[in-house]
């Protein structure tokens, strides 16, 4: 047990082969998507990776430490606005991204601690509603801080945000590299993929670390954890700060990739979406969370493109707005999956044991 990914994989050549295959598929994916379905799908993949990052960040707070956070998108917003304000014509500041992303992560972490410090003694649902309120407060401020001094430009949002640049290499432009046509979204895709791999490794290592085990202890029984000498307040604050900083980084990348942000992107519904990814996939299990994020990012988009042609074929005309059907199917899917698999699609080992034990009791 050397811990982490490499430790477990080292003994299984088959697992290494599987990993190599996954890497190959992921590496080829953007070109395949661009050629087969158009660049839109590369953009959708990029957004999906951003949502995986968010879901993994929220998983630290909800899945590892067991603190229900309904306002997680606020940290995404903080990161995005930090980037937008420091790299756009809005204030005329143009710092490079490797300076801003750490700033964004740090600012988001500070917000996480600001939220956590006074509220951590709250339990369960009380904490949930406070975090929800916090998220809304941030959004309302972003929406209104355009007067009397224009800081956030209000509902119009901030446009013409700088893309990522390293020296002369610009991530937003198309060019030929290694004989292949790299468009802007494809370049970002690889960057995001690298960030994602780093974040996954960090998460895997965290889970089995001293901190990760402390989180698990706090989640299962806070009093027992305290009795075992865990500083529960500090460990919970750490979860908030870390989750928040992940959100901050994802937000910064979102701002750069989109080139435009407005408070519209950070509504409550987004927080709920990220939470749904975590719970649907399987709280506390990194792979489950990733699965949840991939499903909830792609399925609605596929429905967007699939529903209308299906309707045309069946009835010969558009009976119901495709958008409505898409959301209806999505809603029904959420309800059905939860009823059929209450622990999520891919629950963590601990949770599987709990569920099995509960069923063993003979139910109520």
């Amino acid at each position: 047990m050397t811990g982490g990914l490499t430790g477990r994989l080292g003994t299984k050549p088959a697992a290494w082969a599987g990993l190599a295959l996954v890497a190959l598929v992921l590496a080829a994916l953007p070109f395949f998507l661009a050629a087969q379905f158009g660049t839109t799908w590369v953009r959708i993949s990029n957004l999906a990776i951003l949502f995986i990052l968010l879901a993994l960040g929220l998983n630290i707070v909800v899945g590892f430490a067991g603190l229900l956070d309904l306002g997680y998108i606020a940290f995404y917003a903080v990161g995005a606005y930090a980037y937008a304000l420091l790299a756009s014509p809005h204030f005329g500041i143009h710092l490079p991204f490797w300076v801003i992303l750490p700033i964004g992560a740090a600012v988001a972490a500070i917000f996480g601690i600001l939220l956590g410090a006074p509220t951590l003694k709250l339990r369960g649902d009380y904490l949930a509603i406070v975090t929800l309120g916090f998220g809304e407060i941030i959004r309302i401020f972003l929406n209104n801080l355009s007067r009397p001094v224009n800081i956030t430009n209000g509902p119009q949002g901030i446009a013409r945000i700088d893309p990522f640049r390293i020296g002369g290499f610009d991530f937003s432009t198309s060019e030929r590299l290694f004989g292949l046509p790299f468009s802007g979204p494809i370049k970002y895709y690889y960057l995001l993929l690298i960030v994602l791999v780093v974040v996954i490794v960090v998460n895997l290592r965290l889970q089995n670390s001293r901190i990760g085990r402390a989180w698990e202890a706090v989640r299962e029984d806070e009093i027992a954890a305290r009795a075992m000498g865990i500083d529960t307040t500090r460990i919970k604050l750490l979860a908030f700060a870390m989750g928040a900083s992940f959100g901050g980084v994802a937000g910064g990348m979102f701002a750069a990739i989109q080139g435009f942000i407005s408070p519209e992107s950070f509504k409550l519904v987004e927080s709920i979406m990220v939470l749904a990814m975590v719970v649907l996939g399987g709280m506390g299990n990194i792979w489950g969370v990733i699965l949840g994020a991939v499903l909830l990012s792609f399925v609605p988009e596929m429905l967007r493109f699939g529903v209308d042609p299906a309707q045309q074929a069946l009835f010969g005309r558009t009976l119901i707005e495709p958008e409505v059907i898409r959301m209806l199917i999505f809603g029904f899917a959420l309800v059905l999956i939860m009823i059929l698999r209450p622990g999520g699609l891919w629950p963590s080992a601990v949770r599987r044991r709990e569920l099995a034990a509960r069923n063993g009791e003979g139910g109520r």
């Binding site: 406070v130 407060i137 009397p148 939860m338």
Partner: protein
């Protein structure tokens, strides 16, 4: 002073509605510890059904008050049925499941109901027919309308009725017993499933009335109206101590008042021209434009949350709530 009284009246009206909706959240929470996120959507459906009925009957010569009563008589059963269906389909199978699972089905239901309403009633805001003529009365320079009076009186009546139901009837006793301990209540002969379903149905009936009141007060109904209203009412429930029925009533009224007073006064309070003496730049700025307002009434929605956070920081169990056990 006029503004003060006016804001108190407006705040009481909004607060009474928050309180009635909050009751739906708090009753369900009290009995099965579930945040029924779709409750705001029930309010919306109530308003929409009433809209359809009123639009059908308006101009047929039926007296306006009767039209409203018929609308309520249609909206209430629809919402009750909806409340029952929600419990039966989406929540009952998940009793005893991990705590977050029913939260996700609630979100799913909320999405379904919203888009279902969008399909039937379009995505545009509907002008809610003002069939009862609005009359205004003056109290010390402030205006109170007959609509506001009706809303406040109705809400008080409904809350009194609910309190009687919960504290004076056999059903209420069974509800309280189930909330205390479902297993033991079951052993005592309480049909726990029926009681839980009844709780949902009662909450939904209150929500239907609240929906009609909100729509006729603001004159608008839209498929998204349940979202922010539900959120505020949920805040009210938590503010008062979630699971606590008098708490939800108190929380609703407090929230309504704070919001109205906050929106009425924050502009004045944060007008930096009141302290223009402290810097030359500020004095110059104020000479050009007599107001330099940091936060205007557009921050109204923030108050609900700020008050909520402040109260919970100092009283983690809410205003009237009991201390929650250590294993949440």
């Amino acid at each position: 002073m006029d503004i003060f009284i006016q804001q108190i009246i407006n705040g009481l009206t909004a607060g009474a509605v928050y309180a009635v909706v909050a009751l739906g959240y708090t009753m369900v929470y009290g009995i099965i510890q579930l945040i029924n996120f779709a409750h705001g959507e029930v309010v919306m459906i109530g308003a929409m059904v009433a809209f359809t009925v009123i639009a059908l009957l308006a101009g047929t010569g039926v007296p306006p008050v009767l039209v409203l009563l018929i609308a309520a008589a249609c909206a209430i059963p629809v919402c009750m049925l909806l409340g029952y269906a929600m419990e039966r389909i989406a929540y009952r199978p998940l009793r005893g499941a991990p705590r977050l699972a029913p939260l996700i089905t609630a979100i799913g239901l909320s999405i379904i109901l919203q888009h279902f309403a969008l399909m039937i009633w379009s995505r545009n805001p509907l002008a809610f027919p003002q069939i009862v003529k609005t009359e205004s009365y003056f109290i010390g320079g402030a205006i109170i309308t007959n609509v506001q009076i009706t809303i406040i009186v109705l809400c008080v009546l409904m809350m009194a009725g609910l309190a009687t139901l919960v504290y004076r009837t056999r059903l209420g006793t069974a509800m309280r017993a189930t909330a205390q301990n479902p297993h033991v209540a079951g052993l005592m002969g309480v049909d726990v499933n029926r009681i839980i379903a009844a709780t949902f149905v009662i909450g939904a009936a209150l929500a239907a009335v609240a929906g009609i009141m909100v729509a006729s007060y603001y004159g608008i109904a839209q498929y998204t109206m349940g979202e922010i209203l539900g959120l505020k009412a949920f805040c009210a429930a938590v503010l008062g101590g979630i699971g606590n029925i008098p708490g939800a009533m108190l929380g609703g009224v407090v929230l309504g008042l704070v919001e109205a007073l906050g929106a009425g006064y924050i502009g004045e309070l944060t007008d930096l021209c009141g302290i223009s003496g402290i810097s030359d730049w500020l004095a110059e700025r104020c000479a050009a434009d007599p107001h330099f307002i940091l936060f205007g009434s557009n921050y109204q929605d923030v108050f609900a949350f700020i008050v909520l956070i402040l109260v919970l920081v100092f009283r983690p169990q809410g205003l009237l709530g009991e201390r929650v056990g250590d294993r949440a």
